[in-house]
């Protein structure tokens, strides 16, 4: 299906990659899209590599399998680059977004010659500055929205404000920090040359 965007998330248990994929599904749903958001469940434990997926489409989604040829890949933890083939099947006219401070040259080497676009963001920096602790999923969510252009950034921020109000109903003090994390991440994500 030509209008369908497929996204694969790589993270480690506890970092919120699954939550981020569900929040992305939510945000896209709120712009009127058909969505799927699902994790690949394994023997989950803190720190173990996990995979989550999104399909986003203008028409109903019927396919029910994992994603093998994604348009976009999001890597929430760059230590995964050593052990997981994160670009497996990734389309060359797609892109990969990595939470890292590594140099462009080093990344190119670690991605074994992936020819598509590579974007990076220091989600740790964003998270520490805005939230005071390390929650990489919020910045990574903003980063993939920016890179994939699946929705207008303003609409996205507006929608996320609503989601956070709901999600953090019992601790409203963290809403502002999370909104700042999204805004900052939208600016911080950069394509490497």
């Amino acid at each position: 299906m030509s209008n369908m965007i497929e996204i694969r998330w790589h993270g480690r248990g506890g970092q919120g990659a699954k939550t981020a994929s569900l929040l992305l599904a939510d945000a896209a749903f709120n712009t009127g899209k058909y969505i799927q958001g699902f994790p690949e469940y394994g023997p989950e434990r803190m720190g173990a590599p996990i995979t989550a997926y999104n399909r986003i489409s203008d028409t109903p989604i019927r396919i029910h399998s994992n994603i093998y040829e994604p348009d976009y890949v999001v890597v929430v933890d760059d230590t995964l680059l050593e052990s997981v083939d994160v670009t497996a099947g990734l389309k060359e006219d797609g892109a990969i977004v990595i939470n890292t401070t590594k140099s462009g040259d080093r990344l190119k080497e670690e991605l074994k010659g992936y020819k598509g676009k590579i974007y990076t963001i220091d989600a740790r920096k964003v998270s520490m500055e805005t939230l005071g602790s390390y929650f990489p999923n919020t910045p990574m969510l903003a980063a993939i929205v920016k890179v994939s252009k699946i929705m207008d950034e303003k609409d996205f921020l507006e929608d996320m404000k609503g989601s956070f109000k709901h999600k953090f109903a019992k601790k409203p003090e963290v809403i502002e920090g999370n909104m700042k994390a999204l805004e900052m991440a939208l600016n911080e994500v950069k394509e490497i040359a």
């Binding site: 749903f29 058909y34 969505i35 994790p39 469940y41 989604i61 396919i63 029910h64 399998s65």
Partner: protein, 394 residues
């Protein structure tokens, strides 16, 4: 019309249960259906339903509590998966034997061993002869819709059989997808109140339920169960018609997708049907006349409809997500080929075991099955009908 939402399959099932607002829910948590009683218990706690939630200590007790509740005259529901259903097994037969229209959400998972928490249909296939009506659901939407129709079917006087709504563990139970919900009042009106004709708490009619039943009567009672199962076909269709009037969503015993003019077809159940539709469309673009027959109602088995719907084909593949381990293909295959035989239908038909223990089923694999069928359709007789797809052979 309807409420646009996005829910996981488990959320959809729990939402249906909330709107049905049964008298009793008794359940014990087991992956991947755990979330259903988990969400439901929060509805109870928040006062959103009037249900008596019985947090039992095992699945055997969950089904026992449902049996007790239904026998007393209440409407009872439960949810489980795999080994939870195995532990219920004794009571599953007693529920149908006592003609109690209990409704269960079965989130399909591989039965141990070895231990596996992922999806296949071995749990459902283990109770296929237990006298329960069995509906299968391709999506979260169908899991929701099937549950809303469940009580009307099960509680019908001509039926009075328990009913389970199946959906694929994790694949739909844990995937967030779009869904159209109904308003609470509409569900309430559609499902209606439960007024059993005979029940234990009726002071005016003291009765015994589930007593000893020896040579003199058990045979007749089993015949009545079989008759009730045959009656269910018509009732399922009547309820579906009413449901369509309300929602516009049409349900039959089976769903035919581009089958009418197809030359080759796959028969399957649950979420794989969606993936197959995608492949059917892709193959049609290439001029290959592929089609799909999705079995929605597995019990009662729609012998006539399936026999007829497949009669014009040149080759058929039946996909079973559980191996009967009998050396002779899966359970759905056996039922489908039997239905074809009764319809004097001699189309070459193969059994494909697939997706065991959560093995992902891709469009490529479905396409490979259709490719096999293209070859089969050139022959009158196929040599090896007992096949596998997605199996590593090295």
């Amino acid at each position: 019309m309807g409420i646009r939402e996005r829910l996981s399959g488990n959320e959809a099932a729990a939402t249906a249960m909330k709107q049905i607002n049964p008298d009793v829910v008794a359940a014990f948590p087991i992956t991947p259906s755990t979330e259903i009683p988990q969400y439901f218990s929060t509805f109870v706690d928040n006062g959103m339903v009037d249900t008596e939630f019985v947090a039992v200590e095992s699945e055997h007790s969950a089904m026992s509590a449902c049996i007790g509740a239904e026998a007393a005259g209440a409407r009872a529901m439960t949810a489980t998966s795999a080994n939870g259903l195995s532990l219920m097994w004794e009571m599953v037969y007693i529920a149908s034997g006592m003609r109690l229209p209990i409704v269960m959400s079965l989130v399909n998972r591989a039965v141990s061993g070895p231990l596996n928490i992922h999806n296949d249909h071995s749990d459902a296939m283990g109770v296929r002869d237990a006298g329960w009506i069995m509906l299968f659901s391709e999506t979260n939407q169908e899991a929701y819709d099937n549950l809303l129709m469940a009580h009307r079917i099960a509680e019908n006087e001509k039926v009075l059989l328990p009913l389970m709504v199946c959906q694929d563990g994790f694949i739909t139970s844990h995937s967030i997808e779009n869904i159209e919900l109904l308003e609470d009042e509409k569900v309430k009106e559609f499902v209606g109140e439960y007024h059993p004709k005979h029940y234990l708490l009726n002071k005016k009619e003291p009765i015994a339920m589930g007593p000893m039943d020896l040579q003199a009567f058990l045979f007749e009672h089993k015949y009545q169960q079989a008759e009730a199962m045959r009656n269910a076909e018509q009732v399922i269709l009547e309820v579906a018609k009413d449901f369509e009037k309300m929602t516009g969503r049409k349900y039959g015993l089976i769903e035919e997708y581009r089958l009418e003019d197809a030359e080759i077809a796959i028969v399957c159940m649950n979420s794989t049907a969606g993936t197959t539709k995608e492949v059917v469309d892709a193959l049609r673009e290439k001029g290959i006349k592929a089609g799909l027959l999705k079995v929605r109602v597995f019990r009662p088995f729609p012998v006539e409809e399936i026999g007829k719907a497949l009669s014009h084909l040149k080759a058929v593949a039946v996909l079973d997500k559980a191996d009967s381990l009998n050396g002779a293909g899966g359970a759905l295959y056996t039922d489908v080929t039997s239905a074809m035989y009764l319809n004097n239908n001699n189309v070459p038909t193969s059994s494909y075991i697939y997706g065991i223990g959560g093995r992902d089923t891709t469009t490529k694999e479905i396409e490979s099955v259709f490719n096999d069928l293209v070859e089969d359709s050139k022959k009158n007789k196929i040599e090896n009908p007992f096949r596998y797809v997605g199996l590593r052979k090295e």
